[in-house]
Symmetry: C2
C-alpha cells in the first residue's frame, strides 16, 4: 500500500533504523554522506510518508491537539482558530476542532479523545456558564489543558487585555463628546465580562464621569442579550437615557442595534454603539459597526505555545496577550451626540 521505512531501507540497502535516523536528522548518527544522500533520495522518490500510528504508538503521543470553542460560526473564534492553526503548523501538529456544545454532561468525548491518545492536550475556550461539569471532569484527569479567556489556579491560561479593550471603546465615545454612556456587558460570572466592566469603569473615571449603576448592565454575548440590554436601558422604567453604549461583543451589539431600530431609536443619530471584537460581520451591519479589534490571532498562537510548553514538561504559566494592543476601528455606528 503506502511506503514504509522498511521499503526505503530495502531499496537503499541499509537497515530500517538508519533510514529512520537519517530522516529524523538524528545527531547521534554517524553516517557516510553518500549513504545519507542515497537514503534521502530514495525516500523522496518513493514518496515516503511516516505512518502516524506507528510513530504515535512508539512515542506514546499523537502530535495532535484539540481546540474547543463554544461556537465555530462565531467569527471571533474563527480568528482565534486561525492563530492556533498557524502556530500548530509550525510545530507540525494537527488541530482537532470541536464545539464545546459536544461536551455536554454525559458526553465523554474529551475523555475518550485523551484516553485513546488521539490528542495530547486541549486548548479550551470555555463557555462560561454551561459545561462546567464536563469541564471539571477533564480537570480531574489532570490532562494538559490551556484555558483561553478565563482564569484557573490549576491551569495554564491565556487571556486578552479585556480591560484595555473596553477602555478603548469607552474612551472613543467620550472623545466624541458623549457623557451619558452605558455598558451592555458580558456574563457576570465570566472573567472576560468582569475585566471589560473594569475597563469601562476606568475610562469613565479617567474622564471624571460618574458611573450610573443602572447603566452598567450584565447581559451576555448573544444577539438576544444585546437586545435585552437595549430594552432595559430604553424601557418605560428608564428615567434618563444614554447617548452611547459600549457592548461587550460584536454579536450582542448586532442584537442591540436591531432592538434600537425596533424602538425607533436612530443609530448613530440618537445612540452611538461601539462593540468589542472586530470581525468581517461588522462591515455588513446597518449601520456598519464601530469596533475594537482585539489580538485574537495572537491569542491563538500564544495558547499553542503554552500548551506545547506544558506538553514538553514545562510548568504552567499564565499569559496575557497585549500585542498588538486593542485597536479602534471607526465605522458608522458611532457619532457625536446629537449629531
Amino acid at each position: 500500500m503506502t511506503t514504509t521505512l522498511s521499503d526505503v531501507a530495502k531499496r537503499a540497502g541499509v537497515s530500517v533504523s538508519v533510514v529512520s535516523r537519517v530522516l529524523n536528522d538524528d545527531p547521534a548518527l554517524r553516517i557516510r554522506p553518500t549513504t545519507r544522500d542515497r537514503v534521502r533520495r530514495i525516500a523522496k522518490q518513493l514518496d515516503y510518508t511516516p505512518n502516524f500510528a506507528g510513530r504515535a504508538l512508539r512515542m506514546s503521543q499523537s502530535g495532535a491537539i484539540g481546540l474547543i470553542v463554544p461556537d465555530m460560526t462565531n467569527a471571533i473564534f474563527d480568528e482565534l482558530t486561525r492563530g492556533v492553526e498557524a502556530a500548530a503548523d509550525e510545530l507540525n501538529v494537527i488541530v482537532l476542532l470541536g464545539r464545546s456544545e459536544r461536551l455536554q454532561p454525559g458526553s465523554d468525548v474529551l475523555r475518550r479523545l485523551i484516553g485513546e491518545g488521539r490528542v495530547d492536550g486541549f486548548i479550551i475556550q470555555r463557555r462560561d456558564v454551561v459545561g462546567a461539569q464536563a469541564f471539571e471532569e477533564i480537570l480531574e484527569r489532570n490532562s494538559p489543558v490551556v484555558l483561553i479567556n478565563s482564569r484557573s489556579s490549576r491551569r495554564s491560561c491565556a487571556v486578552l487585555d479585556d480591560t484595555g479593550g473596553a477602555r478603548t471603546a469607552t474612551r472613543h465615545l467620550i472623545d466624541l463628546g458623549h457623557r451619558d454612556i452605558a455598558l451592555i456587558g458580558g456574563d457576570q460570572n465570566s472573567y472576560t465580562g468582569k475585566q471589560r466592566e473594569r475597563g469601562f469603569v476606568q475610562a469613565l473615571a479617567d474622564a471624571g464621569i460618574r458611573r450610573r449603576t443602572a447603566w452598567t448592565l450584565r447581559c451576555g454575548y448573544f444577539p438576544e442579550d444585546g437586545r435585552r440590554g437595549i430594552l432595559q436601558l430604553f424601557g418605560p422604567a428608564a428615567t434618563r437615557r444614554p447617548s452611547g453604549v459600549v457592548v461587550a461583543n460584536i454579536n450582542a451589539a448586532i442584537g442591540a442595534v436591531r432592538a434600537a431600530g425596533e424602538l425607533g431609536i436612530n443609530v448613530p443619530g440618537q445612540l452611538s454603539v461601539v462593540a468589542v471584537h472586530e470581525t468581517w460581520v461588522a462591515s455588513y451591519t446597518r449601520p456598519p459597526m464601530t469596533t475594537v479589534k482585539m489580538p485574537l490571532f495572537e491569542l491563538g498562537r500564544e495558547s499553542v505555545r503554552l500548551l506545547h510548553e506544558r506538553l514538553s514538561g514545562g510548568t504552567a504559566y499564565d499569559s496575557m496577550v497585549a500585542e498588538p494592543p486593542p485597536e479602534l476601528i471607526v465605522r458608522g455606528s458611532t457619532a457625536a451626540p446629537g449629531a
Copy 2:
C-alpha cells in the same frame, strides 16, 4: 499511565487476546460466562480505553474522517457539520474539521493527512472556484472522497435539491403577486449555481412569466456578490426594475439588502428579497430575511453514509438529499409588490 489490555488481562488472570475478544464481542470466542463477566467488570473498573494508535496500527485505519468546508464561520456549513458529526458519532468515528483555505496550491495538508493515515477519507464541500488544483491532487491519489454539492464522474457525491429550493423561493414571490422577478445567482461554474438557476427558470415558466436575461445574474455567494447584483439591477443602465429578487444564498442576500439600503430602496416596500438557506443569521438582519430552509443536516448525514460505504469496500454512489423538502420561512424581507 493509562490502562492497557495487558493490565486488564493480568488482573483478570487471562491472556491479552481473551480480553480483546471479549471487549470486541468476537463471535468466534468460546468463553465461560463467568470469565467474560469478570473481564468486563475489571475493564470497567480499571477504566480501560483502547489505545488508538495501537489499534490504528494493527487495523491500518484510523477511524477518523476529514471534513473540509470553505468557511466555518458560515452558518450554512455549520448545519452541515452538525449532520456529519451526528452520523460520525453513531459510527464511532472522529471528525477532523478543516477550512478548504488551508489546501491552497502548494499545501499538502490533505496528502499528509491521508498519507500518514490520520484520516481514512474525506468529505469535501468544494469551493467552486478556488482550490481546483489541490483538489485534483487528491483525486489522483484515489483517496476515498465524498463530494458535497458538486458532481464528479469519478467520485461519490451528495447534493441537495437545489432546483427545488430555488423554485420554492421563486414561487413565494409569485404567490405574493410579483411578476418582475430577478435572480442574483451563484457562481456560474458551480453545480449548485446552475441548479438554482434552473429552479428559478422553471418557476417562472410554470407561472407563465417571461424570463429576462438581464435579470438572471450570476454573482456568487458572498455579501459582496449580492451587493454587486443589486447595483447591477438598479444601476443607471437599468431600464426597468424588478420588484422581487431571489438570492442564491443567505450571505449574498445580506449584502444585497445592504446595497438596497444604500440606494434608498426600501425592503420589502419597494423590493422583496428571498434567500436560499436558513440560518440563525436570517432572524437578525434588518428586515429579518425570508428564506428557504434546505436539509443541510441531512446532507451531512448522508455524506458520511456514502463515505462509510466507500470505506467498507462498497461502490461509489451519488445521492440527492430531498428529505425533508425545501421549506419556506417567511420573514420581513418579502411582501406583496407596492404594499
